[in-house]
């Protein structure tokens, strides 16, 4: 089985198949919107993958390995037929797709999966994350409104940088992709130690206590580092960090509130798009005050 466009530079790639993933159609709509808008502004064409299905997320691979590969495999096959590289915005989807395409290299696994999805897989698409695509044309970004004086804590989470050989788009301990971007946009990426510490992933319902504890650590660290906001590239990280800040304050007493935004929103902002266009007003922890204080909103 060959992997289409497995080579070739991203920078040269104009059009991509786009895999928004479930959250971007609901809780993370602002990510979807800002991604589409800023990509358009950058001349990147996103063609939403026709009939994509859920990647299975952590639930699938927590309980049924085969399912965890088969669900993404179906999407990979479809994308393979389209022939464009498949760009995922959600880090979870990205990770699942990437791992799946990795597993499919193994013949036995592929045969098994083919029987499960009831189709033969000739070729799959190369999987990339939106952050990689943007980074590939960093110098070409036409910054209209530099985000001067905005201190940003870039938060990568787990799924973009681990596991090293199957997924990682950057170093696991001190990644730089997003920091580079933020700097390019005129903002100041703060140095902090929790870029890749886990936020509690899919446990907010089942073990809120864990999620609150982990998020509290991260938020506190970001604040300490003097960040005005945290930039993320994953809807799960976002909802964990953004939605529970009141509870966290209630539970831990200290005020560790920091607005959490998507890197695409910052990108859009710098490209001259408005707060409303980018749904920057939709977050539970409102970033608008701090943005306007910097004259950015």
């Amino acid at each position: 089985m060959k992997q289409a466009e497995s080579t070739g530079t991203l920078a040269g790639q104009k059009a991509f198949s786009y895999f928004p993933g479930c959250s971007l159609h609901s809780t993370a709509r602002e990510y979807d919107v800002s991604a589409r808008l800023s990509c358009e502004a950058l001349g990147i064409e996103l063609k939403e993958l026709e009939g994509w299905a859920c990647c299975g997320a952590s639930s699938a691979h927590s309980t049924n390995e085969l399912l965890a590969v088969s669900l993404p495999a179906r999407d990979l096959k479809r994308a393979g037929e389209v022939g464009l590289p498949l760009v995922a915005a959600c880090a979870m989807c990205f990770s699942r797709l990437k791992i799946a395409s990795h597993e499919l290299q193994n013949n036995d696994m592929r045969k098994l999966v083919q029987t499960v999805i009831g189709q033969e897989i000739q070729k799959t698409a190369r999987v990339v994350h939106l952050l990689e695509v943007v980074d590939s044309r960093l110098d070409a970004i036409p910054v209209k409104k530099p985000l001067t004086e905005l201190k940003v804590a870039c938060y990568y989470g787990c799924l973009l940088v681990r596991p090293r050989e199957k997924v990682a788009i950057d170093d696991a301990e001190n990644p730089q992709l997003m920091d580079r971007l933020v700097r390019k946009l005129g903002a100041e990426p703060v140095a902090w130690a929790f870029k890749t510490e886990c936020c509690g992933a899919g446990l907010p319902l089942a073990r809120p206590d864990i999620v609150l504890k982990l998020c509290h650590r991260i938020l506190a660290q970001a604040r300490q580092a003097g960040a005005d906001c945290i930039a993320v590239a994953c809807p799960e990280c976002h909802s964990n960090l953004d939605t529970h800040q009141e509870e966290i304050r209630a539970r831990y007493g200290d005020d560790a509130r920091v607005p959490v935004v998507y890197f695409t929103q910052l990108l859009g902002l710098a490209l001259g798009l408005s707060v409303q266009q980018l749904h920057l007003d939709k977050h539970l922890t409102d970033p608008v005050p701090v943005l306007s204080s910097k004259g950015l909103a």
Binding site: S23, S26, P163, C198, A206, P208
Partner: protein
């Protein structure tokens, strides 16, 4: 996990064989330095730390491992794997142990987590995609935590962050079949009796 007064090591047990085979990781490489425990964000909430799980696997203490909450609490954040000095993919080991526990019907100490996963998949099975409102609602009802995250509901709705109706993809049937076949196939998977 049941308490164990004295343990009887079974180094030759099928358990470490299974782990080796299923996860491709050799448990005997672990020399118990503890870096995994040290870095695990949820170690504090586990009855056995990753290091202890590796140890128990080395010693073939199957029940000890498979009935621990560790394998359920594990977030798959991969920090342990990324930092292991012996390059053991510990997260992968956790995963294979959890799958084994499911296969062999071990009681699940983290009911809610298991329930969450089950409902999540049911929803996806139904629509081919996730419908978060549905997931949340069903979870709250079936877990009995009726108010869990309910506080957030108005804010989310007001911001249009929760779509009330699910989007169901055109050939959701295909997805349902995938679920069915995947479950059938993985039941055939080899277990590790010891």
């Amino acid at each position: 996990m049941q308490t164990v007064e004295t343990i009887t090591p079974l180094p030759q047990s099928r358990l470490s064989g299974y782990v080796q085979k299923h996860s491709g990781q050799n448990p005997l490489r672990c020399y118990q330095c503890g870096k995994c425990n040290a870095g695990c964000p949820v170690a504090y909430a586990m009855d056995l730390g990753p290091r202890q799980v590796m140890r128990a696997v080395q010693l073939g203490l199957k029940d000890h491992v498979l009935s621990s909450n560790t394998i359920w609490v594990c977030l798959q954040c991969q920090v342990c794997s990324a930092r292991c000095p012996m390059e053991i993919d510990i997260a992968r080991v956790m995963e294979s142990l959890r799958l084994l526990a499911i296969l062999e019907g071990y009681p699940v100490p983290e009911k809610d987590i298991e329930l969450f996963h089950r409902i999540f998949l049911e929803v996806v099975r139904r629509h081919g995609r996730l419908h978060e409102l549905e997931l949340g609602a069903m979870y709250n009802v079936r877990s009995g935590h009726l108010t869990a995250n309910a506080g957030l509901l108005p804010q989310l709705l007001s911001r249009g962050k929760l779509s009330v109706l699910p989007t169901t993809i055109r050939d959701a049937r295909a997805v349902r079949e995938i679920f069915a076949r995947a479950e059938a196939e993985s039941r055939k998977a080899p277990a590790a009796e010891s």
